[in-house]
């Protein structure tokens, strides 16, 4: 630290007062103790330790599927790192980011398959990657040129267009070259100096190295002239310009670096799945990358990686109904524990919820046996536990849909209410949420995943707006 006086400040003295915010942010308790312990270790040591632990992962599991999830996680992490440069550091809302990922994948695909020419092009991987990444960096510059005068909303819309144009282009323009909706197949695996990477584990390690190297490079950039320029432009472009920073140039560089990182991830992705398909680079995937950056804490390198990991692993867990249920109920419980105070009130709500469920189940069961004939869709131990608590009709679709609408109206009402009325309404609404979940949502995995991801972000926004590892941002003074 550059502070000359490291002695603990005296209470009541100017410095002690000035540092009160710092102390409050750190808080106390076990989590703060961990944070403090980590802070004592240097950044590079932390990176090395975490990388070593992650490197052990493929050795500890025999499941190829788990390693495959690891590969997807590292891809998302790399993408989040690149996006963090553009969004987190430079403050440019780039919604066309995933197009560069696609550009990397397609670029590599064309240079490493039978797609072009009579016998195809099969460049050594390293060469192909360098060509594609440099091309992407240039494309980033080119795209940045017209966008550099655009601010905020305009930039977002223009880049979103660019993203769509990319998908349209590879799908519909020149299908001979890009394979149209079927994409490019039969892409060579990565080969470095005669060594072919063919296993999932192999790709895991290639990506781990790439991720760690990018993290290291970004860390060095962050505390350099370039990094300060980026962040100054994010904070106040006009002030930055008046402090000798060439704002447009700095923005273009950020765009370009983001594009290069995304393209690099794209090349490895194409080689890994031996194919490049237009649907992989559509807007839903963009949302995942953004979710990672925001969840982890926009502006933080470790945060981008952690956020991407959480998003990737969460989505994987949500594929399995029983795990999805655990997550769903866990999230609700967590929110209740955090938000409902004091403890007596929380206990009352939970007790009322349990009683309410059994009562409803008993009453409806007495009226019509078929109305409770169904089984909770969650399955697993959660499904069993809820068997005689949540009502599941034999034909759940209709009631489930109606309940979904009622639930949303109820949530709107909940926000308007205050005090006791709010607590009272909470109980049936929670039950309704469980009902909707068991009757409809579990069955609609693709929708549920998005809703839950949204819910996680909303919970996060309330609990820790700066993200997992981000630092607090102050907007207005």
């Amino acid at each position: 630290m550059s502070t000359p006086n490291d002695a603990p400040p005296r209470i009541g003295v100017d410095e002690w007062v000035a540092r009160s915010g710092e102390r409050r942010d750190r808080g106390s308790g076990p989590s703060a103790a961990i944070v403090r312990a980590l802070e004592r270790v240097g950044w590079w040591q932390r990176l090395a330790v975490i990388a070593a632990i992650v490197a052990l992962f493929p050795l500890l599991t025999s499941s190829d599927y788990a390693v495959r999830v690891g590969v997807n996680t590292l891809l998302l992490a790399t993408l989040a790192l690149g996006l963090n440069v553009v969004v987190g550091w430079t403050g440019l809302l780039d919604l066309g980011y995933v197009a560069f990922y696609g550009f990397g994948a397609y670029g590599f695909a064309l240079l490493s398959s039978n797609q072009l020419g009579s016998s195809g092009i099969h460049l050594p991987s390293l060469l192909a990657i360098v060509i594609v990444v440099v091309a992407a960096a240039l494309l980033g510059l080119l795209l940045g040129l017209p966008s550099r005068r655009l601010q905020g909303d305009y930039l977002a819309i223009v880049t979103l267009f660019f993203g769509q144009i990319f998908v349209e282009t590879v799908t519909n323009v020149a299908p001979k070259v890009t394979g149209g909706p079927n994409g490019v197949v039969g892409i060579d695996p990565l080969n470095f100096f005669g060594l072919e990477v063919t296993t999932t584990r192999g790709y895991f390690y290639v990506l781990l190295i790439v991720t760690v190297v990018i993290m290291g490079a970004l860390h060095l950039i962050d505390s350099s002239r370039t990094g300060r320029g980026w962040r100054a432009v994010r904070e106040d472009p006009l002030a930055a310009a008046l402090m000798t920073i060439p704002v447009n140039k700095v923005k273009l560089l950020a765009f370009s670096v983001g594009a290069a990182v995304a393209a690099l991830a794209g090349t490895i992705f194409a080689a890994f799945q031996a194919g490049a398909y237009p649907t992989d680079f559509d807007t839903p995937f963009l949302i995942l990358v953004y979710a990672g950056v925001i969840l982890g804490g926009s502006g933080s390198i470790a945060g981008a990686v952690l956020g991407a990991t959480v998003v990737s692993v969460t989505l994987e867990l949500l594929r399995n109904p029983s795990q999805a249920a655990t997550l769903f109920y866990g999230l609700i419980l967590l929110t209740l524990v955090v938000r409902v105070r004091p403890w007596r009130k929380l206990g009352a709500v939970l007790a009322a919820l349990v009683a309410f469920g059994f009562a409803v189940h008993a009453v409806i069961g007495a009226i019509s046996a078929s109305a409770v004939a169904g089984h909770p869709r969650s399955g697993g131990w959660v499904g069993d536990a809820l068997g005689s608590w949540v009502v599941v009709p034999a034909d759940p679709k209709g009631p489930g849909n109606i309940a979904f609408v009622v639930l949303i109206l109820g949530l709107v009402a909940l926000v308007q209410l205050k005090g006791t009325a709010r607590t009272v309404l909470l109980v049936p609404l929670l039950y309704l949420a469980a009902f909707v979940w068991e009757t409809r949502l579990v069955a609609e995995a693709s929708i549920t995943r998005q809703i839950l991801l949204g819910a996680i972000l909303i919970v996060m926004m309330n609990a820790r707006p700066q993200g997992l590892l981000g630092s607090k941002r102050v907007e207005v003074l």
Binding site: N5, E235, L242, M243, T244
Partner: protein
């Protein structure tokens, strides 16, 4: 007066029909401290915006050390040695105090991104220099911006300290001309007094040429070699503090808006 370092030559700026600055000619000599006064909305801040390139003049010319800067991009003008502070503070609030200052060295440093990544000798030397410059500039404010505050985010500073940091940041651009917009606004009497000394030190120890906008007449009297009064974008008086403060046009300009030129 010595050779003029900053010259405005019949400068006009029109926002649609409103002439915020009209046919204004000003010359500031090297090493001079000139104060700019005038009622609210007189066009003082707009004049700073013109000089620093935020707006290009509708007509007329602006020169720094004889070189025309009218129409240049703001970062180029800053690079030519014109730095400023903002009336409404515009710090990089989510960066540390020291980073605020270091960021302002961008123009006179040259380490490329790849050089920083590879930590080439040049990049490392430059980073050391930037660090030293930042610490030295912050040290100019002695205890006010010292030590433990350097790593704190700029938003955590008190209002007065944020004003000081604005000056420190401007100093890091290595200016020849320093434009200071209402440095004493929002400060208590003790701090206002400090500011008066500080501005004198900026010229004496740093050799800056200073153009300052200030409403506090104690400060204006204390710092100025010369005072220029503006109203409706036009120069209505120029000269020593005593001459300008008693000038009937100036008194009327202030009286007309319901405020007199009073000290304090």
């Amino acid at each position: 007066m010595t050779r003029p370092l900053l010259e405005l030559d019949h400068v006009t700026l029109a926002f649609g029909g409103l002439h915020a600055v009209e046919d204004l000619s000003i010359a500031v000599g090297e090493g001079e401290i000139v104060s700019l006064i005038g009622p609210n909305g007189a066009g003082k801040t707009t004049l700073f915006n013109l000089i620093t390139g935020v707006y290009a003049p509708t007509s007329g010319d602006i020169r720094v050390a004889g070189r025309s800067i009218a129409g240049l991009a703001p970062h180029r003008i800053a690079g030519l040695g014109v730095a400023r502070t903002f009336q409404t503070l515009r710090l990089f609030v989510n960066m540390s105090v020291k980073e605020n200052v270091m960021a302002a060295t961008y123009g006179h440093t040259s380490a490329r991104m790849w050089q920083s990544v590879l930590r080439t000798p040049k990049a490392r030397r430059e980073e050391r220099e930037v660090n030293a410059l930042a610490e030295e500039v912050l040290g100019f404010f002695s205890q006010r911006l010292m030590g433990y505050r350097w790593d704190q985010p700029a938003y955590s500073l008190s209002y007065a300290n944020r004003r000081r940091l604005e000056i420190a940041r401007a100093m890091a651009t290595r200016p020849r001309v320093l434009l200071i917009d209402e440095p004493a606004a929002g400060m208590n009497p003790q701090e206002t007094h400090e500011i008066t000394d500080l501005i004198a030190r900026l010229r004496d120890e740093r050799g800056y040429t200073i153009l300052a906008i200030e409403h506090d007449m104690h400060v204006v009297e204390g710092i100025s070699d010369r005072v220029i009064a503006l109203d409706h974008g036009q120069k209505i008086a120029e000269g020593s503090f005593e001459a300008v403060a008693t000038n009937p046009l100036v008194v009327e300009a202030y009286m007309g808006r319901g405020t007199a030129v009073t000290k304090g």
